[in-house]
């Protein structure tokens, strides 16, 4: 017997939970202004998220999936991407979407039951929210295939959860990305829980990063609560893709501090202690502490940031609440480029019977 294949998985962290550097900082992180910008984006995302939950609790928004605790991972990924790269998100990656120019009001529209929420004014090529788990991984591989065929220096990035790594689509996407050296980054956002199922029940794999080994490209695990690590490694992975060196898997280890969605009650299945411990690792606090140590942040600046974020979020909420329902016929008008004849009759019926169900929703 001899060993014919061997692998190891690296873990990376630059900023520890205590706000102290745990490794030599990468170049971009030596500019405090750049870090302030990332902190600002993470904070805005959290303020938005908190408000969205409140909107749901007060009956002004449908079921909503919170991103609490994922801010460093989400913002870090988008901060590493170029504008003409393409993002294939799942459904809670607001930090990334907002950074890429999706409007807060669009995210609210989506969860508020309006398709226009996925008609992003900003990143026109980005994929919309994707609810069937893991299926978006294939779209990112397909997008990468399009870029490769056209000889464009662009990459696709998909965002999938720990639960999503159990889906065939996730493996199938990585497999073809490996076989064809596609310019794609598979982000696995390991927040430890897939609704009520803990990661230990999902897989016996020691890490999720090693899932790439069988598909022939590198995987790395990073501290998903350290935005510096996330941004740094995603940048490196994107560079690999642009250089024609193929795909990368990055497992960002974080924690879902919230319920799965507003329709969920996580206290039914997970221990309070575990959540309390996870709060000690959360991403905003450590960055704030680091910026404070650098002497570039203080309570006044924090308050000003929170006020500005609240103002921005309130304006988005107003825009969302003031958006009238889409016209009834809109459900027909985007099915095909041209409406087939047989749908015309149904379209007329829908208009005629519009609101006869009471029109209470929305």
């Amino acid at each position: 017997m001899e060993t014919i294949a061997d692998f190891e998985i690296q873990y990376s962290q630059f900023l520890g939970p205590d706000g102290k550097p745990s490794a030599d900082m990468p170049e971009f992180a030596k500019d405090p202004e750049a870090l302030i910008d990332l902190y600002r984006q993470m904070t805005e995302t959290r303020v938005f998220d908190t408000k969205a939950i409140n909107l749901q609790r007060t009956g002004k928004l449908g079921t909503y999936a919170s991103c609490l605790g994922h801010e460093a991972t989400h913002v870090g990924i988008a901060a590493a991407m170029q504008e003409d790269d393409v993002l294939a998100p799942s459904y809670r990656e607001y930090g990334a979407m907002l950074y890429r120019g999706v409007k807060m009001s669009e995210i609210l529209l989506f969860w508020g039951g309006d398709e226009r929420g996925s008609d992003f004014r900003g990143p026109k090529g980005d994929f919309p929210f994707c609810v069937p788990i893991g299926t978006q991984c294939l779209h990112s591989a397909g997008a990468a295939m399009a870029f490769q065929l056209r000889g464009e220096k662009r990459c696709a990035v998909s965002m999938n959860g720990d639960g999503g790594t159990s889906e065939g689509a996730f493996y199938e996407a990585m497999n073809i990305a490996g076989a064809r050296k596609l310019p794609v980054v598979f982000m696995v956002i390991n927040n430890k829980w897939a609704i009520s199922v803990p990661i230990e029940s999902q897989t016996a794999s020691q890490t999720l990063a090693q899932k790439s080994v069988a598909t022939g490209f590198p995987g790395i695990q990073v501290d998903g609560n350290d935005i510096i690590a996330v941004k740094h490694w995603v940048e490196r992975a994107l560079q690999r893709g642009r250089n024609g060196d193929g795909a990368t898997l990055i497992e960002a280890v974080t924690y879902r501090l919230s319920d799965h969605t507003t329709a969920d009650d996580a206290s039914r299945y997970r221990k309070k202690d575990e959540v309390e411990d996870a709060w000690k690792l959360e991403p905003l606090l450590r960055m704030r502490s680091y910026l404070t140590d650098l002497g570039v942040w203080d309570d006044d600046k924090e308050q000003q940031l929170l006020d500005e974020a609240a103002e921005k979020v309130d304006a988005a909420v107003q825009e969302y609440l003031n958006t009238p329902k889409p016209p009834i016929e809109a459900m027909f008008d985007y099915m095909y480029e041209e409406l087939p004849d047989f749908l015309e009759e149904q379209r007329q019926q829908a208009i005629e019977y519009g609101d006869t169900n009471g029109g209470k929703h929305g």
């Binding site: 994929f127 990112s140 095909y336």
Partner: protein, 325 residues
Amino acid sequence: MAEVTLIDALTMAMAWELEHDARVVILGEDVGVNGGVFRATAGLQQRFGEDRVYDTPLAEGMIAGVSIGMATQGMRPIAEIQFMGFIYPTVDQIINHAGRFRNRTRGRLTCPMVLRAPYGGGIHAPEQHSESTEALFAHMPGVRVVIPSSPTRAYGLLLAAIRDPDPVIFLEPKRIYRLNKQEVEDNGKALDLDVCYILREGSDVTLVTWGAMTFETMKAADQMSRSGIRCEVIDLASISPIDYDTILESVEKTGRLVIIHEAARTCGVGAEIAAIVAEKGMYDLKGPIRRVTGYDVVMPLYRRELDYMPSVKKITDTIRQTLDD
């Protein structure tokens, strides 16, 4: 002008489009050097290169998913699924994504792709190779389902499918891949989608069918004509959306309707045609609508597969019953 089989016509159509539209790529299992298990893509990789015509890993859901990803980013993928029995892993991607992208993004992202698959029985194939499950896809909003029945139709409809701005499931009746030859001009002219084609005009009874069943149906119509019965034969061609106008006009003329399909009966496409004619053409009918279909059973393995499929005799008997009503 070349005399070609249905499968040659498909190859011609794909070659034309690869030649004239840089966005078109072909992907699937064994579509490259091997030219596909039925040779639909024979010679295309040699002619257009590995970038445009390539073998994928063996995972049908992946083939559909990456095709969708490509289509949303400006490509025009033609994906081949080797047999209908292997198409089901694509259903998640087709129903959840291909048919929804335009709608869910209000037209921001669209999905112009073709998913080709051979379907139907009659070639002594192994298990899970012979089913006709077109109705599954006809039930999905946002996708078209197209079935050619001749070399001419295969060429024109496949070109139309590739150029269509929305996803098309293109199902190929493999029993007639090489059954006959027709002169097909390789001129890049597409046929219309969303319409059916009248194969034979008649005034006594309307026969609606599609795919390989057009052959049995035309034979049945020939036999009936010897007894002076004039059958109008309609090739549905577009399984979704259905061209109801042509069917209703025909029924208005003949007053009688028989639908023939190889697929199982319950919730088949024939049921939808019968329902629409009952709703809109009831008073033109001189008797009940009848269906000649496969049975609602698992498609038998090949020693009995022909007994599952509608025969010419079963069609003529049903036409006579319909005329006697």
